[in-house]
Symmetry: C2
Subunit: 231 residues, 2 copies
């Protein structure tokens, strides 16, 4: 039995490691959402037992922290390939491109934005990302103080997503009227009027946290414009 067990691992499993644990977690989240990441499922997907994971990570919190770091590293790799001027007025398009590139990575992992929000620990890779963004602003002539304000003003938008509390038409049947909204139409004159007029049936319409690309860029440009003016 012991021999069988051992040989089974030796022949068919490349040995556990913190890195493999984190990558497996991302894989599980990609196909089942972040809630699908449990220590047992994680172990199973690696051909091991749940408790074995604890030799490589302290606890589940650390797994999630690590996952954030890996995704942020993926972002940094992507923005690292960008080669644009950043001096003077060029800062604006450099920052814009950096942020939209980060967003592209996050859209590959829909669950990631919610995870980024929920973590309080500072991920080294996230710090590196922000450092680069501050660098661009400094090149653009921002004072340290204004750059600081700018980071706060951008908030999560700095890394490519923004939180919507109410996404019109986000229901299961996208494009069709929200039942709750329809039920209280009488008490929501402005909202109903607005949506009636705006109901452009955009196929890429928003789902869940993920807001429309066009809306994201509108908000981003609003902020970048304002910052540029204060530069």
């Amino acid at each position: 039995m012991s021999l069988a067990t051992r040989s089974k691992r030796t022949e068919s499993r490349p040995a556990l490691s913190r890195d493999r644990v984190l990558r497996a977690a991302i894989e599980i989240a990609d196909e089942g959402g972040i809630a699908a990441v449990t220590m047992r499922r994680l172990a199973e997907s690696l051909g091991a037992e749940a408790m074995s994971l604890y030799h490589h990570v302290a606890n589940k919190e650390q797994v999630l922290d690590g996952v954030v770091d890996v995704i942020a590293a993926e972002i940094n790799e992507a923005v690292g390939r960008l080669t644009q001027p950043t001096r003077g007025a060029a800062w604006r398009s450099a920052a814009r491109e950096r942020i939209l590139t980060a967003r592209r990575v996050l859209l590959r992992h829909r669950w990631a934005a919610a995870l980024f929000e929920s973590r309080s620990a500072t991920s080294p890779e996230v710090l590196l990302y922000f450092d680069g963004l501050v660098g661009i602003m400094r090149d653009g002539g921002f004072s340290n103080d204004l750059a600081h304000h700018a980071m706060h003003a951008l908030g999560s938008r700095a890394i490519g997503f923004s939180q919507e509390l109410f996404t019109p038409g986000a229901g299961p049947a996208a494009g069709e009227p929200d039942p709750v909204l329809a039920g209280m139409a009488g008490r929501l004159p402005h909202l109903v009027g607005m949506l009636a007029e705006v109901m452009h049936d955009d196929p890429d319409s928003t789902i869940g946290w993920c807001d429309d690309q066009a809306e994201f860029e509108f908000g981003l440009d609003l902020l970048l414009d304002g910052l540029d003016r204060r530069r």
Copy 2:
């Protein structure tokens, strides 16, 4: 026994109801955070058993949805007391005051912002809040289309909070350098430089999701200015 049980309830407990369940949940969250809200604790705080709650709410999800609705109602009550002109250029300060009032309510329930984010269902009270905000913008001369963009651009900021991914100096010992940040200072020239200069030891410095009031207002004004210009 049955008599004792009944009398115990009759004399000392005002009978369960959906409303009482939600209010108890808010109370528990206020003192122990949202994670402290479990069906058992909730029942206990009401002098009942966990399963009894299911006669008044379908499941825990619905409890959380209901809590969001109650908090949003509290916001609506607060903004309902505002009496400011909204026509023309006055829209800006009316919207600003509405949002800052909402924020004041959320600051009384620190856990609420994270909860608002995590819910996907549309709360009727949240819809009412947004309807009022759209109304202010329409009074200000916004087209429906621009108002729609504006709501997306504001995102969660429309209701009084903004998500920060990395809050400088948010560690346990506020005001003192982050250990992670200190450890990689060499690779974060811009960030370290910025923070060194900006480290105004603001006593109200940011903790967790809750960003500094001044920073919130800076970002809000940036957006309102931009929107006003496009009006």
